[in-house]
Amino acid sequence: MDQGHLDQRWREVYGGDGPIYSTLPDGPDERELLSFFVGEMTHHIKGLEEGMREGDMQKLKMHAHQIKGAGGSFGFDILTDLGRELDDLLRGEVTSEDEIADATERLLGVCRRVSVGHEMG
């Protein structure tokens, strides 16, 4: 997915600062899964913040990689997209610190809005 497309989708679907809900079907199993996932998110948010503060690229990469792997499977495709964006940047050899900071902020922004429950209507 190219950067322009991601930006556009990001603005259209995930612009604003309200809660973001999973696209998984609603059911007791899914709700249990999602409360676990949202709990895990606090751990990853902490990790990403620490990674940025300490300039620890390994730590950033580990959290980006795990969010990328799990996000889509929990019904949050945007997390997989943004996790991949950061993961790719960190793998690249010519990446500016600004780019990494932007991508991390973006991922963090979505991580903080991930919520249990479902979109009404």
């Binding site: 199993d29 899914e30 249990e32 899964l33 676990f36 996932f37 895990e40 580990m62 990689h65 795990q66 990328k68 792997g69 799990a70 996000g71 889509g72 499977s73 929990f74 495709d77 997989t80 991949r84």
Partner: protein
Amino acid sequence: MSKRAKLLVIDDSEMTHQLIRAHLKSLPVKIYLSNNGLDGFEKAMKIKPDVLLLDVNMPGVNGFDICAMIKNETQLRDTRVIFLTGQDEIVDKVRGFDLGASDYVTKPFDPVELKMRVSSHLETKRLIDLLAREANLDSLTGLHNRKYFDERMDQEMHRLNRRYRELGLLCIDIDNFKAINDMYGHPVGDDVMRGVADLILKTGRRSDVVCRYGGDEFVMILPDTNAKQATRVGTRIVEVVREDDELPKLVEQGVTVSVGVAALLEGERADIKDFMKRADEALYISKRGGKDCVCVAKMNEWE
């Protein structure tokens, strides 16, 4: 499925563990979890999973290396390995299959796809196990067959040399079986064969391995058993067959067997051929000495 199938997940992400557990909840399978390669390998050695879901990208030892280690272990060789990989990760899929993997599943998971794939590999594994069991059985008597005997004997000899245990071996032959076949016909001969097989199986101990070696000859592997104990088992078999109430209903004069016993001492080295020959020679002496009896092979150390 008599035993519940086992699935092992090796993935460094706790979130993946939870997802897999939730998606596969309705499958009749016990799920084990591990979050790193080497720990996962150790778990696999212990539980011998039917299917393994294996993450490719893990810190430390990666999935490809673990797959190679698994496929190197005789007891894990038939485990169905399914690799877990990110959609965008350029992994060498051919390499995975070369290493013996059976399938790939990409993350993010499609719950239905994950479940169907795991389920299909569980069924394949069940059939592989069934086939392996069938291939090792003698169709007439239901005992282990010659093929199984050769493999098992090889293992036991190996263990003997490594752990210095004793090993007993019995060769058991139905007396005058050819005459029984000639006089009563092959269907009765088959019934006699089955009857004797059942009696040997019942008389042996749990750890003894009874095989039909071919024709009317049976062999019995007795792990951790010395010559004296093996002779006792052989004597019981001769008595039980002689005194059985059912066999005289098939063959008027009753049925008897002759037994040859051989045993390897602690730490003794011998090859399978030589060991078999000793038991067979003892059987021959039983036959010459009037049948319906047990003879023990001369020990090597007395020679």
